[in-house]
Every structure is written in structure tokens, then in C-alpha cells.
């Protein structure tokens, strides 16, 4: 039985989520790869939380564990006060959906657009007759800006931007209250990216869905998010209001990440001082003890090697995990 929790102000609550993958490191020997190592955050109804970080930091894994596409190693996820576990996830997937990065591989090439968008309706039995199914599909297609005549076509007949619209219509089919957008605009051209970003915003205004917006493009994340969480090697190092984070980043990793973003403005680009990080991200199989960032951090001290800093509130909900800043 799913355990009920007191109704809270948050739609999604994640407490100390851990996701380890066993990796073979020798004969009969496995080492856990700590893809996500104790992540906690909350998302309010109708809010967008941006999740940024470099490749391999575990941001995609967070999204997938959240929806139980992986079975989390430990930690709790609550959706609208109800615990998400293997018993409840069946009916909860109606409320929680996902849009994937690659619009080329996330749509079945043998299915028509109508069947792709209709599949979630079939799975959750959300219609009483063929006519109702068809009406709902056309309504969804209109919502994401596709023509009704596209319904009988196959995915390969569409451009990248249109395919991503099909993926979004599929995610919206069950009327979810929460959507995980995993690099949903990264594969698109700049001019098309703006179309899809605007559509995400309009859908939120219209339907009140909450997003976990996972991306590596900080400008896009800043644009769309209310709050932003920054991840480094499986942990959240900073989480704050989007404007606040951009104006006054506190964690040294966030500072260098923001300074590294190339701004489309030649004057700003020349004036700005980039904080270049030394070296590469360490392998998650061989994580440094203590703070994972200390190997590239210029403020690192003795203490960083001993203990792992936890997120502490620096006022206005600006949470940072760093001893020295």
C-alpha cells in the first residue's frame, strides 16, 4: 500500500534520492557508479525547476529515477503527498510524463502520429469510443501547433521541431500535472528552439503543468525556469531563484559555469572575465573523497577533502553546498 503523507505545498518532493549502477570492474567484482548521490529538491505546482550541469553529472538520471524509469537505490519521491513506488507508479504515470532529448529516436518509426499520441490514451484507457479518442488526439495536435492532416503521417516525414511537438503532444495526452523535459530543445536549431521554448511556456500558462527542465544550455534554462538547481557529479551544489542564481552565484562551480557561457554579444564577451576551470571532471567511478568539486576548486581546503558539504540556506531559499563561500 502506498503510504500517505500530509498534503504539502509542493507537487513533487524528492528526498535524498540515490541511484547507483553496478559496473563490472573485474572478474566477479562490481563497483557502484554513484550517478545520483543524495539529491533533494521540491517543485511547486505550475513551477519550472531548471536542472543544469555538465554531461555525466547525473541530471538525466535524476529525471529518470524520479519517474521510476530506473528503480532508485534509495530515497523517497512524493507526488502530491503520495509516495511514488512500484505499486503507485502505474496510475501516477498519468500525472507525470516525460519529453525526451532526441526527437529522432524517441518516436516509433512504424507508428503514425495519431497512434503515437494515442498510445498513452490506450494504455490508461482514457476514452470510451473511437470518436472520443480521435477528438482528443486532434485537440492535442492543435494544442502543440500541428495540423489535423498530419495525423496519418509517420514520424520520418517531419522536421526535428515538428517531431518534438509530437513528443510533447504525447506527453500531454494524459493531462499530466508534471513533465520532465530532458534536454527537450537541445537537438533543435536556434530558430526552432525558440518556437518550442515559447510553446512550453504557453502550455504552462494554459494547463498549469510543472516542469523539471533538464538542459545544459544555461541561457535557455535561465529563460524558462523559476528556480535553477546546479549539479556536479551526482550532487546538487547550488539551488536558487533563476535571476538570483545568475546575478550572484555563490558556489565556485556555478561561478565558473556561468562565466563560461558564451553570450551572443561581442562587447560583453570581450569585457567578461572567464573563470577557466583546470582539468576535467573526475570519473564518477573514482570520486574524490569529501567535496567532489575540490580537485578543480581554487578555494579547496583540508576540510573539503574530509567532509562533504551539505546544502545550507544563505537567505531567500538560496541553498549552497560549500564550506568556503
Amino acid at each position: 500500500m502506498s503510504e500517505m503523507k500530509k498534503k504539502s505545498e509542493y507537487l513533487v518532493e524528492v528526498n535524498n534520492l540515490k541511484q547507483y549502477f553496478p559496473i563490472k570492474t573485474g572478474f566477479m567484482k562490481t563497483t557502484p557508479l554513484k550517478a545520483v548521490d543524495g539529491v533533494s529538491f521540491n517543485i511547486k505546482a505550475g513551477e519550472t525547476l531548471g536542472l543544469v550541469g555538465e554531461s555525466g553529472c547525473g541530471k538525466t538520471t535524476v529525471g529518470r529515477s524520479l519517474l521510476r524509469l530506473y528503480t532508485p537505490t534509495s530515497g523517497d519521491v512524493f507526488f502530491d503527498g503520495e509516495r511514488v513506488d512500484k505499486n503507485s507508479i502505474g496510475h501516477m504515470r498519468k500525472q507525470m510524463q516525460m519529453v525526451f532529448q532526441d526527437p529522432y529516436s524517441s518516436l516509433n518509426p512504424r507508428m503514425t502520429v495519431e497512434d503515437i499520441i494515442g498510445e498513452p490514451l490506450d494504455v490508461h484507457k482514457l476514452y470510451s469510443g473511437k470518436g472520443e479518442r480521435r477528438d482528443r488526439i486532434l485537440e492535442l495536435m492543435e494544442l502543440v501547433g500541428l495540423n489535423a492532416e498530419h495525423a496519418t503521417r509517420y514520424a520520418h516525414e517531419f522536421s526535428g521541431g515538428q517531431r518534438q511537438r509530437i513528443g510533447i503532444a504525447r506527453a500531454l495526452a494524459t493531462n499530466p500535472r508534471f513533465i520532465v523535459c530532458d534536454e527537450a530543445v537541445s537537438a533543435l536549431d536556434v530558430s526552432i528552439q525558440a518556437q518550442v521554448i515559447n510553446m512550453f511556456e504557453e502550455l504552462q500558462e494554459k494547463l498549469g503543468v510543472a516542469y523539471l527542465f533538464i538542459a545544459h544550455d544555461l541561457l535557455v534554462v535561465h529563460h524558462i525556469s523559476d528556480r535553477i538547481a546546479v549539479m556536479y557529479l551526482g550532487r546538487i551544489v547550488e539551488i536558487a531563484d533563476a535571476d538570483d542564481l545568475n546575478a550572484s552565484p555563490i558556489h565556485p562551480y556555478t561561478q565558473s559555469l556561468l562565466s563560461a557561457v558564451p553570450y551572443p554579444d561581442p562587447k560583453m564577451a570581450k569585457e567578461r572575465q572567464r573563470i577557466i576551470l583546470e582539468g576535467d571532471v573526475p570519473s564518477p567511478l573514482n570520486m574524490p573523497k569529501g567535496c567532489a568539486f575540490r580537485t578543480r576548486c581554487k578555494y579547496a581546503t583540508e576540510r573539503c577533502a574530509q567532509e562533504c558539504p551539505t546544502l545550507t540556506d544563505r537567505g531567500n531559499g538560496h541553498m549552497v553546498a560549500c564550506f568556503n563561500k
Partner: protein
Amino acid sequence: MSENILSVVDLNTSFHTDRGEVMAVNGVSFNLDRGKILGIVGESGSGKSVTAYSIMQILEKNGGIKKGQVLYKGEDITKFTEKQMREFRGKCCSIIFQDPMTSLNPVFTIGNQLKEAIELHTPRKGKEAMDRAVEMLTLVGVNEPEKRVKQYPYELSGGMRQRVMIAMALACEPDILIADEPTTALDVTIQAQILELMQSLQKKLGMAIIMVTHDLGVIADMCDEIIVMYGGRVCERGTAEDIFYRPSHEYTKGLLKSVPSVDRMGEKLVPIPGTPINLLNMPKGCAFCPRCENAMKICIEEIPPEMQMPDGHFASCWMNVKKQMEAQSNE
């Protein structure tokens, strides 16, 4: 006086496909001066990479230069034999590709691959070539280069591999380096490292760089001059300031409005409507007109001429012709 090193004159490149001939590059012209960084920006299918590959003559078998000249120090290299081209590639002009994962050979060590390039193009052989390889790796900031030359590509991270690619491209001290989306596959902090490296190497060695990318941020950061391409044609060319602060082509204007910027954070993005161009089905007139909100009748009918703007940069848009005519009639 800046010295012109490469001129591309009316370059046309096409590919033969099952569904007909695709004109990937249509009358592209530009000049590159020694020691300058030129950016070619555009979306997928705009012909920016094909322009770069045409200069190097490394197009797929079904493609070829149909018309136009590529002048390197006054010599037309489109007339070169394959043997001459081999000399040209590497020694005069080098290229680095987008994906550092697939552009290195997985079965040879880093040192081996660097040595090959050096032995092919310089009199250095054997141990001498290997020393040069180590020297090049040091130059591009690879730590422990003596150890790295014995390693295979899979043992290095993405950023390190891209450094190796740059080392290989620069090993024979070319006059021109073509970088085709050099940082697209890399993370932002690694991207910053590589861009910084390219800028400092450019200052140190004085080569010219052609930077091909879709990232307006990278372009703004790196380039002295910019070419904006759409549908195989040049829309606009000028200095970085011209393009970013005084765009004169409807496509450039739209592109700049569709990226989030810090001072317009609260505002909605203004996307360019419609879908990217299909090169098999090119419009008769301006390639951008099906997506242009200010398209006029003439835009559909005729290809706009390149016109010089008051600040000296060039744009190919009928809107500018119209404005000029209006100004003249007012006088």
C-alpha cells in the same frame, strides 16, 4: 595593410542525390586576411560546413564544386591535382572536426597519429617527429605529454581529444585553420578552455581561423568577421559589431531575437516562424522569404542582390533596397 590569404569567389557546390541535384552552396564569396578569425554561422542545412569542406576539397563522392574559385595566395586551388591538394591540406590549411570521438583512429596511439601527420608534411622523421608531437601536445595544454603519446584515444576525455586534434592540425604550422563546430560536442567549461586555447594559439602563431558554428555565443566571443548563411547563400557579412548591433538582413534579425539574452530575460522569445529550408525545394527568390514576416512580392520572384550598408558591411535583402529607394524619393 592586412594581407589577404584566402579568397573564395562565387563558390557553388552541389550534391547529386537520388532525388535530384542539391545546391548546398550558392555563390558564396568572402576574403580572409592573415591572422584574422572569420566566423561562418547558420543553422543545419545552411551550407556552412559544405563551404568549409569545399575549401579543403573533402566533399563526399557525390558532391563537387560546380563553379567558382578558391584562391590561396592568389592560386586557384580548385584547379589543383589531388597530389597538390595533399600538399595543401595539413601544410597550408588544416581542419578540425566537430566530433573528437570519431575523428581519431581508435587503433593507433595518439603519438602515432601525430607522428604520421608530421612525417608526411615536414622533413622531420622518426624520433624527431615524435619529439615534435610531444612539443605540440605541450603547446595545446595536454598534461604529461610524454605519457599521452603512448595512449589510445579512448583513454582520453572529450576535451583532451579535441586538444589532440588541434595539436595535429597545427603540427605543420598551417596558415589557415578551419574549425568545424569545434566545441559543439563539449561541455561549457571545457568549451571555454578550448576557445581560450584557440585564441591564444592564434595570437602566438598568427594563423587565420575559419570558425564554422551554429552557436551565436561562440561567434560573438571569437570572431573578427562574420558571415551569416541561410539556404546555401550568404545573407549578411561584416564585423562582429555590424552583425550583432546593426543586423540588416531579416534572417539575422530574427536569429538574434530568438536566442535568450541576459537583458531580455523576462520577455518572451521571438521565434522565426516556419520550418527550416528544404534544399531540394528551394524558393525561386530569396531563400528566407517563406519564413520572413516582411516578405514582399519581389522577394518571392528574385534573388536579392548584395548591397553595401552605410556602415560598410554587406547584406542581401530586398528590404534594404526598398529603404534606399524610399530615401532617394524623399530627397
